[in-house]
């Protein structure tokens, strides 16, 4: 019952961009260095986030990435669904697929409720709230 690496790293990429919103463009190389994530992996995730409209890129020598919208408008649940496909704890029932009574009982009493609770958390959370939890410049100091 784990989020994928893609989901976790994608959120970190967006948080990093939000934390450095005062810089016009942020390069993936600088994010890779700060976050300790490989460049190749970030490039892969950046393609997905760009396609979904969360980030935009400027090409060229002074190019890089920036958020495409205000961090307060970016819902973490939506981002995770782009990166994970969905957030369900079990596959959805396909049409025509039959469940026995045990399975149906567990679906309605357990899986549906877990899905609801997970959505409640991530759909009521925006990027600005996550980005605000740690001051990027003083985090190191705090930790000491």
């Amino acid at each position: 019952m784990k989020l994928s690496t893609r989901g976790r790293y994608g959120v970190r990429l967006l948080i990093d961009l939000a934390d450095h919103a005062n810089e016009a463009q942020v390069t993936l190389a600088s994010i890779a260095q700060r976050q300790g994530i490989s460049m190749r992996y970030l490039e892969h995730i950046a393609v997905l986030l760009k396609r979904a409209g969360y980030i935009r890129s400027i090409k060229g020598a002074s190019g890089g990435y920036s958020l495409a919208s205000d961090p307060s408008k970016i819902v973490i649940g939506d981002v995770l669904r782009v990166l994970e496909g969905d957030l369900w704890v079990v596959d959805e029932l396909r049409s025509g697929q039959e469940e026995n009574a045990l399975q149906r009982c567990i679906r309605s009493m357990v899986y549906d409720k877990l899905n609801q609770r997970i959505s409640d958390v991530v759909d009521n959370l925006t990027l600005d709230q996550m980005a605000g939890t740690i001051d990027p410049d003083s985090a190191y100091m705090y930790y000491i």
């Binding site: 045990l102 149906r104 958390v121 930790y143």
Partner: protein, 146 residues
């Protein structure tokens, strides 16, 4: 964020046992027939569930399995922690700290997600599922009859 097949099958097998009278023993063949899970897989699932006391195994010709406690004392969280190992949505909260805890802006969110999942799974017991089962069974049988 899927629950594994192991987790889903464990829930189904334990719900089956919870629906039966308290002292009745069921061998894996009977459980397999009712749940559609293979006998071999059931035996694998039952090893850790037995170690944690969620089920009891009685050996011998008349032997079999039953719940190890009252259904009201077994939560979904208890079962899933055995079958899934952990309910953490990310591996870094308790088991494998990554070393970036102090500067990780995601951690609070993953912790919140973890406690939502834990609270939910721990608040539902097998007895709750038993209570919900009967109308669902009637519904399923009616559909098949049509």
């Amino acid at each position: 964020m899927r629950i594994s097949t192991r987790g889903r099958y464990s829930l189904e097998a334990l719900l089956f046992l919870a629906l039966e009278p308290g002292d009745a023993l069921h061998n894996t063949r009977a459980i397999a027939e009712q749940t559609g899970i293979s006998e071999g897989y059931l035996e694998q699932l039952f090893i850790p569930l037995r170690q944690k006391g969620l089920i009891v195994a009685i050996r011998g010709a008349q032997g079999g399995y039953r719940l190890g406690k009252n259904a009201a004392e077994i939560s979904i969280g208890d079962i899933l922690r055995v079958s899934e190992g952990s309910l953490e949505p990310v591996g870094c909260l308790a088991n494998e700290p990554c070393g970036r805890e102090g500067e990780c802006a995601s951690r609070l969110t993953w912790e919140r997600l973890y406690s939502a999942i834990t609270e939910c799974a721990d608040s539902i017991t097998l007895a709750d599922l038993v209570d919900a089962y009967e109308p669902i069974e009637t519904e399923v049988h009616t559909e098949y009859a049509i």
